[in-house]
Amino acid sequence: MPLQDRPPGTRPPEAAVALNHLRRASGRLRSRLLALNLAAVGVPLLLALMLGNRLATTVSGPFTVGMLLLVTGVLTLVAAALWYDRACRAHCDPQADELRRRTPASRAAAGRRP
């Protein structure tokens, strides 16, 4: 039986609680990465639609507002990718390893060919 399924009225087993905790942590990190990625691409695109030629306004020398936006977007993408991997390693991987170690039965169930 999968870890999260239990008969009604019974307390969830420890492994199921840990699994739900892992799912929430993983989902939370994924949502943040999605928001950062959306912002990194969405903001320059929206501003390109709204500001038009004003993006070519110079900031310093030949560097323009548009270039500044794009560089910020790219740096956000890179920083978000590195942060996500690091956060998953810190918060999710140890929990997943612990669950795999504690619940060998779940591995057998998961490994079964559907």
Binding site: L33, P44, Y84
Partner: protein, 536 residues
């Protein structure tokens, strides 16, 4: 500058393009031959026995994100489109960001084809069959694009201008590359991808450095010269050069970015690549590292595009090819200073890019044909592994020959329409199906089939009645005009439709008990992973 003039500028001898291309072919063939020796099982052939380290897979993943069309068109897009080209390059980086979100759960399913991944969530063979159909269609379209470009590039580099020369090159190059995929499998394909990344990255960096050295290593001077040769900074560094300053033009730019971000993230050969990782966390690490590498690569591509604009000017590039696909070669020919080395290196980079992309696509399509359709849907898993590998090799050859035939037949068609359609279909059909399958409890088989087939129909209709097919000088049928959909890039409309169809189909149908059980089981698997190799 014509192809003959470019070739004449490169000279002959050991740095001649033909010599270098032959060297690339021989080395690639030897690599595939050596890698293919151990391909006895399905896991070996399609996923390299899930033995690729995170670093190696990151390099290979990076290679998968640099198809021939990207290598040639982004330089031209930046040189001709200025800010628009740069924002498209940023979108390409974001595509890997989307894959990063999905990489770990995708690898944790333990499946390596789209059909397999979808079937891990839904009962019945319809899901696997539909996934295989979409995979083959996407791969076939992309193969035609890549092989057409391969033929054109080879003929261009070799300076062959006669009638039918590009088609002959397409046939020769296509059959050669397909045989590589049949021999090498995933191991061979990965080795070529890694080699490609090194060669292509080195080439783009070298070009940028040579161009920068001509501007006294001053980026500001390069930017000013690029804008000066392309109509001034006021227009070159503002949006609107690619699609115009109208509302439709702005929406087309947004649609192109949506196509690039979402369409490139879940291509079938990328899914196959993710499945070759050792584990879910390894797939995530590889994707994360690939984001960094691809950022550096596209940064160098933007610099190369600006160098092309500064060195050649938009007028020269557009007169040689209105879409700017030859800008990379023109720049290399101009910067070569008669030695020919730079042009030859660029020719090798383009050729090895074609080689690796086609090999990856062929492998992904053959996985769907041999594993999904033949072994699982038709034979219901009754065949031995050795027989399935033999069928896979045969599928590689059959798929390759069909692709080459179509590429030769459709050679005069605009490849932009085909590439745009393939990317939009991936973004509208594959992405919603995967996102819903992995993360939505209420997704049903009906919703899945509506998403896949409904998006296919939607994309086909929008593309057929859009300006990419008729109504413009660069359209598929330039002499006719039956378009009513205003956007050249259809993803802005088709992606929401794909998601809506999946949602509506799921709401209007009932979830079977078997599918609910399968979902509950999948939820554990997506977090903890599946034991490798026992669940292909």
């Amino acid at each position: 500058m014509s192809a003959g003039e470019v070739l004449a500028a490169t000279g002959s001898g050991p740095f001649a393009p033909l010599t270098a291309l032959l060297l690339v072919v021989v080395v690639s063939f030897l690599l595939c031959l050596m890698a293919g020796v151990g391909n006895d099982t399905v896991a070996d052939f399609f996923t390299a026995n899930r033995s690729l380290s995170a670093a190696r897979n990151a390099l290979a993943l990076c290679g998968d994100y640099i198809p021939t069309t990207a290598l040639l068109s982004y330089v031209g897009a930046v040189a001709l489109g200025g800010y628009d080209g740069m924002i498209v390059a940023v979108s390409a980086v974001a595509g890997l960001g989307v894959l990063l979100l999905l990489a770990e759960p995708l690898r944790n399913t333990g499946r390596f084809t789209l059909g397999g991944i979808l079937e891990s969530r839904m009962t019945g063979r319809a899901a696997r069959g539909a996934g295989a159909v979409i995979t083959v269609i996407v791969c076939l379209l992309l193969m035609v694009v890549q092989l057409t470009v391969a033929g054109d590039v080879t003929a261009y580099v070799l300076g062959v201008d006669g009638p039918g020369a590009a088609q002959v090159c397409t046939v020769l190059v296509g059959l050669l590359i397909v045989s590589f995929a049949a021999f090498g499998g995933m191991r061979g394909s990965s080795m070529i991808e890694v080699g490609k990344v090194i060669v292509v990255f080195g080439t783009v960096v070298a070009l940028s450095c040579v161009a920068l050295s001509r501007s006294d290593w001053d980026l500001g001077t390069l930017l000013e010269t690029a804008a000066g040769h392309s109509g001034g900074a006021g227009s070159f560094y503002a949006p609107g050069l690619l699609y115009g300053h109208t509302t439709t033009g702005g929406l087309d730019l947004v649609s192109l970015c949506v196509t690039v971000v979402l369409g490139s993230s879940v291509l079938p050969h990328v899914l196959l690549r993710v499945s070759a990782s050792r584990s879910g966390p390894a797939a995530r690490r590889a994707s994360s590292a690939a984001v960094v590498m691809i950022t550096l690569f596209y940064g160098a591509m933007v610099l190369t595009g600006l160098s092309a604009a500064a060195t050649l000017g938009a007028g020269v590039i557009a007169s040689d090819d209105p879409q700017g696909n030859s800008a990379l070669f023109l720049l290399a020919g101009t910067l070569a200073d008669g030695t020919g080395l730079l042009f030859t290196v660029v020719a090798c980079a383009a050729f090895i890019t074609v080689l690796s992309t086609v090999a990856g696509l062929t492998l992904a399509a053959s996985a769907s044909l041999a594993h999904d359709l033949y072994a699982q849907v038709c034979r219901r898993g009754a065949d031995s592994e050795r027989r399935e590998v033999n069928v896979a090799r045969a599928a590689v050859m059959v798929f390759g020959v069909v692709s080459v035939y179509l590429a030769v037949t459709l050679h005069q068609w605009s490849i932009v329409a085909l590439a745009s359609f393939a990317a939009a279909l991936t973004a509208s059909a594959i992405l919603p199906a995967l996102v819903y399958s992995l993360f939505w409890k209420g997704f049903t088989r009906t919703g899945l089939l509506w998403t896949l087939y409904g998006s296919l129909v939607c994309c086909a209709v929008l593309e057929a009645f859009g300006p990419a097919v008729s109504g413009g000088p660069l359209a598929l049928f330039p002499a006719r005009d039956f378009h009513w959909f205003p956007l050249q890039n259809i993803a802005l409309a088709s992606v929401p439709v794909g998601f809506l169809l999946g949602w509506a189909g799921s709401l209007l149908s009932r979830r079977s008990q078997a599918d609910q059980d399968r979902h509950a089981e999948t939820q554990t698997t997506l977090l903890l992973g599946r034991e490798p190799l026992d669940s292909l």
